[in-house]
């Protein structure tokens, strides 16, 4: 029997294919939308346009080069990729970085988390057309990039971590600048809240928009701030501590919004601001108590080898659970590297979360999911 399609029955339904290269998308990806007027009735995501064979590249290059390649997993949060690879290799080789190196790594990773969350706030600001807020946040993020530059000599793609420690000791005045920046950002957070977070127009734009339920979080393996915004208290730093996070006393902010607005775009924005606050606290404590001693256990030359074995490491990146599986056959390069990236899970929820949205909210919801296509496509 002839079964007419929805398009045949309903003349209002249109199809709109966006991408793969489109300014409003978070990266090269394709969105196939079906619209009933301005309402999205279904959406499909296609990715893979930014596949660079990154994991394969690890296998073709030396162990030291793998740190540089790990940078390119996520250019915004380069340290997280580096840290995952270093920890996995150290697990196989049984290397234990000195306490000072652990502290530097922790400081760097929390600074990166703040930087990534600020970048997230910029994306949200742009999605709702709040240019002033965007500039405020970008101005403050510059201060963090200055800190990266002061410590590592680079603002992005730091390439600073090494197997068994870090590339160099903290530069003169770095710790003072970290404390200064933390104090400044604490003030700025209040300004952000005044300017945007609790602005009525912003609340109206974001409340109840792009909701992700706890069930969806569990079903699609969503982690990080997106999961915590939906009320799921899961943070690798607490559940599987690494780099001496077990010695740090911190709490994990979790959204307690319930009912019609739980796990919406506003929760995801707010949770990141809370995480910035929490990271600032941690930084302040760590910057004051940075232990003395060496920053690198042994310098690894071009002939550096990791003994045969395999390692599985999970860390909490700014987007969530970043896993790294590393295999070594004892040669000059890794024999297999595979990442588990948080964006891969976040992408899976898009077809569900866009249904019922107004098309005008789509950029906001995509921004609120904090997608990084580079780490998903690899």
């Amino acid at each position: 029997m002839f079964k007419p399609t929805l398009e045949c029955l309903n003349a209002d339904v249109t199809t709109w294919e966006i991408g793969p290269y489109y300014s409003a998308l978070p990266g090269p990806m394709k969105l196939k939308l079906r619209l009933d007027g301005e309402i999205i009735i279904s959406g499909q995501v296609e990715t893979g346009f930014l596949h660079r064979g990154l994991e394969k590249a690890f296998e073709l290059n030396s162990w030291n080069s793998s740190i540089i390649y790990a940078d390119h997993l996520d250019s915004e949060g380069a340290v997280f990729g580096e840290l995952a690879v270093c920890l996995a290799a150290e697990e196989i080789a049984g290397i234990s970085p000195p306490p000072r190196a652990q502290a530097i790594r922790l400081i760097l990773s929390e600074l990166t988390r703040i930087s990534c969350h600020l970048n997230y706030a910029v994306k949200i600001g742009r999605a709702v057309g709040s240019e002033t807020f965007t500039h405020y946040v970008l101005r403050d993020r510059e201060k963090l990039l200055d800190l990266f530059e002061l410590l590592t000599g680079a603002r992005f793609s730091l390439s600073f971590l090494r197997f068994g420690g870090v590339k160099a000791d903290v530069t003169e005045g770095f710790i003072e600048r970290v404390i200064e920046t933390c104090d400044l950002l604490r003030v700025r957070l209040k300004e952000y809240n005044d300017l945007l977070t609790f602005n009525q127009v912003f609340l109206k734009r974001t409340s109840g928009v792009g909701q992700i339920s706890k069930e969806q979080v569990m079903r699609w393996g969503i982690t990080g701030p997106n999961a915590r915004a939906s009320g799921v208290s899961f943070d690798i730093r607490k559940t599987h501590p690494y780099s001496e996070f077990e010695k740090v006393d911190f709490h994990v902010p979790v959204s307690n919004s319930k009912g019609t607005h739980g796990g919406d775009a506003h929760d995801r924005f707010l949770i990141r601001l809370l995480e910035i606050e929490q990271s600032l606290e941690m930084l302040k404590v760590f910057a004051d108590k940075i232990p003395s001693g060496p920053f690198l256990e042994t310098k690894s030359g071009s002939d550096f080898k990791v003994p045969r074995g395999e390692g599985w490491i999970r860390i909490e990146s700014s987007r969530g659970f970043l896993g790294c599986y590393l295999m070594s056959d004892g040669g000059l390069s890794p024999s297999r590297v595979q990442f588990r990236t948080p964006t891969s899970s976040n992408l899976l929820v898009i077809p569900e979360v866009v249904v019922g949205l107004k098309i005008e909210d789509l950029p906001l919801v995509l921004a609120s999911l904090d997608l990084n296509i580079a780490e998903a496509d690899r």
Partner: protein
């Protein structure tokens, strides 16, 4: 203040007496003067001030290269935009759109109240004519959006139309409110009931104050002035009509939007903020001395100053408020501005009734 003392003296008849030439030539000359010497320079000044203001909000420097402190930036931008686009054959829909825009432009100039001397049209229905212009402008934008043959264009076009309808209602009720006070809808009668002091402006009355906010808010929605410009937003995934504009078309569009904003602000100043009445009784003194050119020039400068200030206040608000969604904007108009404008109208009517009978 008596009505006769500030009644308008048509600049056409003044010049006709002095030059002895036909009125249509003088009108054409006057229109060109208004365009060339008032609207274009004000557009450039406003564009510069707005960019500097925005830069201040963003903690940036803003325009700084073209001329001293970047003062020639608007000129540089216009020249750049005009050179950007190669000649291409226009479609009939684009021509239709340009036609609507042109109509809106001329009508705007014709009804613009720029002082008691520089009034071209001062009929009993003058205050309603800008609505026609603004609606034509919105209609032109809608046609343009629909002619783009793209999903963002269609959305943008329909949204502009929805906003225009939603914004027009509270604004027109606000005009009725002012008309009640002035006893008519001509610019001169609206100016006549006001004085130079802010306490004698129309807006000093609480009901008129509500009407003022309804008028400005309604106008912002009707004309798509930021942050209520969702139908015109730049990122095309939002569905804005200007996402595919560039070069000459973009400069024409920007210019028309400035016109709309400027017109609305001039009218708001005329109706609510003391019109062109000069402080210290200068209007009456100069009129008695029959120094009409000086009077016209000072009135023009005074009303332009107030207009630019109002526009800057609106622009400042736009810098700190995120852009609303189109249904939020229309809801705001229908559910907030419209009831408040009706409240102002009813309240003022009762106020007049009580004043008359008690």
């Amino acid at each position: 203040m008596n009505l006769e003392s500030i009644s308008t003296i048509s600049w056409i008849s003044l010049m006709q007496d002095q030059l002895g030439t036909s009125s249509w030539r003088i009108a054409l000359f006057g229109l060109s003067l208004i365009y060339g010497l008032i609207i274009l320079p004000t557009g450039a000044v406003m564009s510069y001030l707005e960019r500097k203001l925005r830069a201040d909000f963003h903690a940036r420097i803003g325009p700084s290269r073209a001329g001293h402190a970047g003062i020639f930036q608007p000129l540089a931008d216009t020249l750049k935009l005009l050179q950007k686009e190669k000649y291409s054959r226009s479609t009939w829909t684009e021509m239709l759109w340009i036609g609507f825009y042109t109509m809106a432009f001329y009508s705007i100039v014709a009804v613009m109240p720029l002082g008691s001397i520089a009034l071209l049209v001062n009929t009993d229905m003058s205050a309603f004519l800008p609505f026609w212009a603004a609606l034509v402008l919105a209609f032109g934008t809608m046609v343009f959006g629909l002619s783009q043959d793209s999903v963002p264009g269609w959305f943008g076009g329909v949204r502009v139309a929805a906003q225009a309808l939603a914004g027009a209602f509270p604004a027109i009720v606000a005009i009725l409110c002012v008309g009640l006070q002035a006893g008519g809808f001509s610019w001169s009668s609206m100016a006549a009931v006001q004085g130079a002091s802010p306490f004698s402006w129309t807006v000093a009355n609480p009901f008129e104050l509500i009407a003022f906010f309804a008028f400005v808010g309604g106008g912002m929605i009707l004309l798509g002035i930021p942050p209520l410009d969702t139908g015109l937003s730049m990122p095309d995934i939002h569905g804005g009509v200007i996402s595919s504009l560039y070069g000459k078309r973009y400069s024409l569009f920007r210019f028309s939007r400035f016109y709309g904003f400027f017109l609305w602000s001039v009218i708001a100043v005329t109706m609510f903020l003391g019109a062109w009445i000069l402080p210290f009784g200068l209007s009456e003194i100069l009129r008695l001395q029959e120094r009409f050119i000086l009077l016209g020039s000072l009135e023009l400068l005074w009303i332009l100053l107030k207009t630019v200030l109002l526009m800057l206040v609106v622009s400042s608000v736009a810098q700190v408020v995120p852009r609303g969604r189109v249904d939020h904007v229309t809801d705001f108009s229908w559910k907030v501005l419209s009831p408040f404008s009706l409240l102002a109208l009813i309240g003022y009517t009762v106020w007049i009734g009580l004043r008359t009978f008690l």
